[in-house]
Symmetry: D2
Subunit: 456 residues, 4 copies
């Protein structure tokens, strides 16, 4: 879970990157970094926290130059620490290599072991650093060295690189993560999602294709394709939960897809209740689709506190169900004696849902039904979504009936795999559905841990 | 615009006050303060910023004692500075006087002048300080002195006081601002809105009545009424904009009132468009009522960025319509070629609406109509709502047609005064509507400025 | 223990005050404050800590105006807290009263009680605040009101005031604390010590006389004398320990006085050792005088660490005699097998000396003799020097022999009272020697505590 | 200019390192770092600023383990930045390499170029990093690899390393910089100077010898000597200026050496003045020796402000000779109409002396003579002392007469080279005197810049 953004050929390149990262903040809240290049010198700033906490106007102004790239991070491989903030910067023989990476590699362990035996010293535990060492050991020219290095990588990557004065966008052959190309006046933009283009007023040109390496330089664009072709494996969970609703990714709009999932859910599991309500904000749009299709009135039964997210003192045992209450306050005058169906986008551990349902019952709700706009989550993701371990995914070891009783529902239904694919607004054969099915498009590590490289 | 909260008789009194202020954060984001009393000593902490920024667990723990009160402030009288953060604390002859005040007094100038001539030195420019000096000059017993002091005040006040080991709730005879009494186990709670009772799990008992002074002490409750009775003048703008939707104030729920306003709006000004959409979040609930009543489909045409509110670099002229975009991103695939009616809760200056409408047109909307869920705002508030000056209120000097053209709408309609009062869920004769009509329930200062006392 | 400084009629008045306070830093390290007046508005900044920590260039620049005054504080009356930082500022009937006070009043309790009964609310626990309330209750013109107010004060005060556009210097009738007048171009300066004049390049004019109130205004200087005359009671401890060696106070130089005390000490108690050494830095100058007079070679036996004073982790029990070692490191090659006489300026509790002597013995010193350049300290000071309580003053309850054994010395001698007075470079009858003799020049409070006003 | 310190086998190892660095603070004020090893894990903390600013008790407590090392830095090679703070840490094949380096290498450029061509990526611009890469490319066992790597280095190094659970002390074959071994109970200590042993109560065992590599492990000490022997080249400037006076280095005490230099100075250039005075604090001890030998009375003519060094606002042109005054205030009553000889340890640019002499003359001094306790500084140092460039060294391009007139002296004399060596308390043939003579013991880079590696 990361966001990447790059700009080539704009006088305020680092300001644009700042805005791009701001629009992509939902893809990674842990740390942020921006680097710029003015033709001679690389400038760099990074820090733990939100984009708006890490940067200020003075810092952005100091990041001079017409090429810039940035990264929002939510740690997948590599522990959470200041050292591991991207973009990764290496200097070698007087040139700079800058790497911003969204996704997760699956053959990191072997590549790194091999490089260390050749005398390489690694600075970080990020899998992205491997790319720099592969380049440092290559005797080829710059572009060929990049193609050679990326050919050795397995797994998921949407990359923005800055090497030898060129901005480079690259996407693995499966296309797990999104990456698009935009244009603002005469500048080129690379972004994880189109919402970042919208914010800076750039127009969308096209997606970087799976297996494509796009070099953006003074002489324009040059596209090279990696030799090996793979079946497309777009991450379907980007649509269900991760991407911003106002973005178009993989060729479809996220908001409209979520409404479509809600409508399909109403068709698969019709029921009769007094009201349909979302759990704000995760199920909002699926709930709207569900209400439209079912004809049940949509009602806001719980109000979200706008100030949640701010650091907060935990009053431990003093207040019952505090964690729910501080985010969501049920309106008794709306809920009392009602039969309610609540719409969720997904269930991970089930513990949050359990408390929310309890809070609804305490507010006087008569019946609580739940409909989930995707199938049960049962398998870990090796391609960059930071699910908990398989053991913690409630659906990987429990039946739907067990989960229904655990959460305390009158009924529970998940959207079917077929229904989910049918509701998609682009051809269904393009998706990776491994988290629901366990059918991984690549070989996956036997022992997997996001801190694997810490112990090398 | 302030929030007040008090607790009597709870071992974790200051923790509860912290949570209460957190729930009332929307009533004042500028500063926050909490004081506690353990029977012998007053402890105090305050600072500029949000409740969660001003306090941490260690500070709350240090605020010992079973009585505590707190205040969120958005400056009305008195300039914005650390010195003016409430609760106000005075020591006099070995006793403590603590004052948390929501509202605005209208005879401050004369009371203060008189006290200074008697030798009083004022520490702040807050009108609330006057209460302490009135008490210091009185020879009566404590409760009588309080009744005497409050009798001299004119204007709006909902007060929480801590004097001589008693927690005191008081509300002016008009009842401009809300104040309610709750109970948690054997503790009594005073709060501006019921949402603060909900968060700590307290039950609602009743509102403090207009003109009531409620003393909460070891021997229970004692209620004294101010001699002079006034016609109730509840602030109707609390329902339209200011209070939290999940609160009940003045005897009705805010969310349901807003939906009711939206329904009335649809009845008064029917029209035919493809979709109805709110400007998030201000018009959300009125839009839902409007959609229900009109049958026009509700659509989320603009997505709100969750990270807005964080400190942010202004990219000046680089990005067009940036201020709107950073908060709200229109979804082109939803809006293109549509006829849209947008629902607003109120229009103050009109400048924000103007830019939003422009953004919608750039996203391809064919027609933009606006419906506002209250009448035109034309008069300043002397009772605690921080409107801009009369000159800045667009409707005080321009016709509706002029405003429609200024904002760039195809049509614009405001809810009628009669319609607004009719849509209320409590009897309409109880409200102050001075901001719409100019009919002030009290005498008002001829020259009014919130910094008036700065120059004394 | 405080430093005061004021400037009248200079374009960079607050910069000069900053420098003046910097030069007077030794008089109070706890807090600092500076106020300025530009003819219309008072500006103010203050904080806990050293002058250089509390202020920066931006703050000083913002303190506009040609009149300015400042204060360094080491708490005497009034607890140590941000609220009690001086200068004290009161606003009353549109005018400003600013007070910077060095010294300690002895009739605070009664004055304050009386004022509270008249309805005054005190903001702080500083005795200086009383002056403002006395002025607020007066009906006289400004200058007469000041004379009237100061007449009511008992005890020690060297004051710098800013009232009605005039800078005022005042000193109690005994003259306990120093205060001098200087000139820089056409500006007048008030300062606790001449070293502050030196730093800004101002010339010394004269001391403010005991009982004098000097008004510095647009029309020049106007001096008023308090009616009651007292015998001079200059604090002799300013010479022995407190004032800076490069200052002239009460008409004599501090460094030369300390050398003179050392020479007198050598005359009173001759002995034969291998070396004489100071404990840096307190006994440096007396040791030089002692060496000159006695002919014993001066040697630096312990080196002072320049970085001491910085916040420091205490390694508790891990390192023996750590507190001494971290400040002073004995040089074994200098000390081994030597007979040493060490010179101290004074002994308060004796505990520090004890450890230092132990450290010297561990470094191989054969004999350790100590000579102290003042008589035994036996009585508390009510006039502004923050000695510990009488109980903690080692000499108030123990004989010199007992102290010698407690510290672990081979011999110990204190300078005689007569010797001390004889060594002074100004007439000896002008001094307060109460801390040595218990002969207080004024009535003193029976129960005295520096936190007395906290409980009012 | 750096300080290094290491501890092997103590339960509070990192606390001791903290204290050691504190005692060595004068060797580098720019940054500080401490690393610890508990047998399995390396922990690390570092930051810009003084030791006491970079660390607090909580941090030190978190640096667990019985082996620890630390570093104070004043940048020589490598720009001043957080990235370049030592100790340098590299991980390679699961093991940690930690390096703390005092001194400066002279063949960095070639070693680094060679390593980069083999694919190494450097993280910093510190010459010390080269050691880690040399180790990573070696196939030998750990101890042999270290001997091999150090054999390739040219220039000055006193190193403390932590590799494979062993603490290693190493000193180049010339012995430019000091490094000593101490013992505290059963723990071994490595330190730049003995004053750091004193502070923690450790006993001095011996110096690490030139060309020695001392491995301290579980099985005790193992000493290996580098094959190539060199003529000793102890830095004489450590005695003159750099080391702490209470330290013994290279076998002699620094304080006693400085007094000896002062005595030699009095013998070489006898004169008759009223007083001899040091410029505090640099010439203090030479002045004492000078006074003893010459019989001229020692007087403190200028008082040093204890608070200097704190961040400070520059009052630009407002105060004449401000920079001197803020540090040193001349006592007019001591200096007026006197003939004075001032003792300096060295003259670098001469500008500071010029202003000080001017200040003395303004205080009324009749004659000012200066004696300097070393010969003229004429050549840059390539071994770790951060002199300005040759151009800025006043004596490298001007005669003594010119310097005398520039500073404004009545007479000026430098100690002779022979006199300086004669005054040393250890055999004179052991010293590097290149900064006075230009006779460098090693080959030196033709183009030398401390930021050389920045442009690689």
């Amino acid at each position: 879970m990361c966001g990447v953004f790059g700009v080539f050929g704009h006088k305020q390149a680092s300001s644009l990157v700042y805005l791009g990262l701001y629009a992509l903040q939902h893809r990674g809240e842990e740390s942020a970094g921006i680097a710029s290049f003015d033709g001679r010198k690389v400038r760099f700033h990074k820090g733990m926290g939100l984009v708006s906490d890490v940067f200020d106007a003075k810092i952005i102004k100091s990041l001079r130059g017409e090429i810039s790239l940035g990264h929002n991070r939510y740690s997948t491989t590599g522990v959470s620490s200041a050292k591991n903030i991207q973009p990764f910067l290496a200097r070698h023989r007087g040139r700079h290599i800058l790497i911003a990476h969204n996704g997760n590699l699956t053959n990191t362990f072997f590549l790194r072991k091999d490089l260390e035996e050749k005398g390489s010293i690694f600075q970080t535990t990020m899998d992205s650093e491997i790319i720099a060492h592969l380049l440092a050991h290559s005797d080829l020219d710059s572009q060929s060295a990049i193609v050679e290095a990326l050919s050795k990588l397995e797994g998921a990557y949407s990359l923005v690189l800055l090497i030898d004065g060129e901005l480079i966008g690259a996407r693995d052959s499966y296309g797990f993560r999104p990456l698009c190309l935009g244009k603002l006046d005469s500048s080129y933009i690379l972004a994880s999602e189109t919402c970042a283009l919208d914010l800076i007023g750039a127009s969308y040109i096209r997606d970087i294709e799976p297996g494509e390496i796009l070099f953006i330089g003074k002489d324009g664009l040059k596209s090279i394709k990696l030799p090996e072709k793979k079946k497309h494996s777009f991450c379907i969970f980007e649509f269900i939960y991760f991407a911003r609703p106002d973005s178009d990714i993989f060729g479809a709009n996220v908001y409209l897809t979520r409404k479509s999932l809600g409508r399909q859910l109403a068709r698969e599991f019709p029921l009769s209740t007094d009201i349909v309500m979302p759990i704000p904000d995760s199920g909002n749009y699926a709930a709207m689709g569900f209400a439209e299709e079912s004809g049940i009135p949509l009602e806001v039964g719980m109000i979200r506190n706008h100030y949640v997210g701010r650091t907060f003192i935990q009053p431990s045992q003093m207040v019952r169900n505090f964690r729910v209450k501080v985010k969501l306050n049920p309106i008794k005058r709306v809920l009392k004696d009602k039969r309610v169906v609540i719409i969720e986008d997904s269930i991970v551990r089930g513990t949050t849902s359990k408390i929310r349902v309890k809070t609804l019952r305490e507010a006087g709700v008569k019946e609580v039904h739940m409909r989930v706009s995707c199938p049960p989550l049962r398998w870990p993701c090796y391609y960059g979504i930071d699910f908990p371990t398989k053991k913690e995914l409630i659906a990987s070891s429990h039946s739907i009936e067990w989960i229904r009783d655990f959460i305390g529902l009158d009924s529970l239904n998940y959207l079917s795999l077929e229904g989910m694919l049918k509701a998609m607004l682009i051809p269904p054969e393009n998706f990776c559905t491994a988290c629901f099915t366990g059918n991984y498009p690549t070989a996956v590590p036997k022992r997997f841990s996001k801190n694997l490289l810490e112990n090398l």
